[in-house]
């Protein structure tokens, strides 16, 4: 399938899943499931950062409009997109990234995915809950929400990739 079409479909699907399903689920302990950062993460490696930021902003603002959060998702997804190239550079394999390959769980392996996506997801969730609560004397509560939500969101993202992404053919 064409790269652009694939990404547009992914945009719509992740947005709908987040707004129509995940926003309605309440687990308690302040846990909130967020999987839409996966869209920004799976974009091609060589994509320019300006384009990344623009896409992040638009996806965030659409989700905001449908969950009455007025810019909260947009802000934290922008942070996710801004830090993506930096983290990618830190965790790059020895001979660099293959520009033709998609950087998902199957192509890059568990170790790389847990390090890279985990770090970015922690930044995203921490930013989100910090802004949402916006009180320094409740920092413990922010950390509790971040810690618990990151674990569950991460597992859900793993599951989504297992279900919907084709396994790469090993050369």
């Amino acid at each position: 399938m064409n790269q652009a079409v694939k990404n547009i479909l992914r945009f719509v699907a992740l947005m709908a899943f987040q707004v129509l399903v995940l926003n309605q689920i309440e687990i308690g302990f302040g846990i909130q499931l967020m999987v839409y950062p996966l869209f920004i993460f799976l974009l091609p490696v060589e994509m320019g950062i300006l384009m990344l930021l623009l896409l992040a902003f638009s996806l965030g603002i659409v989700i905001d409009a449908m969950s009455n959060t007025y810019g909260l998702h947009a802000s934290s997804l922008l942070a996710f997109a801004y830090f993506r190239p930096l983290i990618f550079k830190l965790t790059a394999p020895r001979d660099g990234y293959d520009p033709l390959m998609e950087t998902n769980l199957h192509t890059m392996g568990y170790n790389w995915f847990i390090k890279t996506f985990g770090a970015l997801l922690i930044i995203h969730h921490f930013w989100f809950f910090l802004l949402e609560i916006f009180k320094l004397n409740e920092l413990i509560f922010v950390l509790q929400k971040t810690g618990l939500s990151v674990i569950l969101s991460f597992l859900l993202c793993l599951l989504l990739q297992y279900l919907f992404l084709n396994k790469a053919v090993k050369k």
């Binding site: 302040g30 300006l50 930021l53 603002i61 905001d64 947009a74 922008l78």
Partner: protein, 279 residues
Amino acid sequence: MRNFLAFVRRFRVLLFFALLQGIALSLYFSFSQFPRIQYLTTASTVTGGIMEVRNDVTKHFYLSKNNTALQKENIALRKTIPSSFIKLNNGLVKINDTLHLQQYEYIPGIIINSTHDKRNNYFTLNIGSQQGVERGMGVFSAKGVVGVIHNVTEHYAVIKSCLTENINIDIMIEKTGLFGLLKWNGKDARRGTMWGVSNDTEVKKWSKVVTRGGGGIFPRGINVGKVEKTDVVEGKPLWDVTIRYSEDYRSLQRVYVVKNLLKIEQEKLEELIPIEDEQ
């Protein structure tokens, strides 16, 4: 000039990031005060429409519970209609008097979207200005108070619910008449707090808390909840009164919007209070 352009080119990523971040954050922090940008909420026609379709599916999850609540309300109302009374004295004649004037009207509505675990939670209603809803009207359900209308479009409205930090509804303890403001601590969807009760008064556990009817937003005596416990506020002569809400906002669907027919009259009168008395 060339230096400036070089600067912009060098830091273009950071500048662009800061620009978009600025837009997002200014939206976020200004919205709770000034609901200007209506198309960015679930009150807009597109997203409101989507939420309505979703609600068509999920409303059935709580159907039996809601039906029971409506049935109970019906029984309470049925008790008051003439056919459930026995005539004791046939000699009495009913005279249409001018002693009672209708002050409140109620507009029925259905909540089609809501959140409960955020710091400030807003509910979306399926009725709007076409049905007579206006900003600042009160909303309640069969079991208790729900919130205040925050934002209205032609077909939808957004409620600032009792699950927002500064909801500030005038409430009082029914028996003693002590009054205060309703607040929410941002965590527990079953409990709110009553602010402004002086600690030299006695607040009994499990006494009923109702709306006070100040400001003309709600009629007097709509249920809010019951006093669960009182704590000491450090450094202030106040009780921190925890209220257990009578309504479970997580499965709430059918609500009524309060239309106060005498609101303009009350507002005109209260405008005459001299301003220098306030601090």
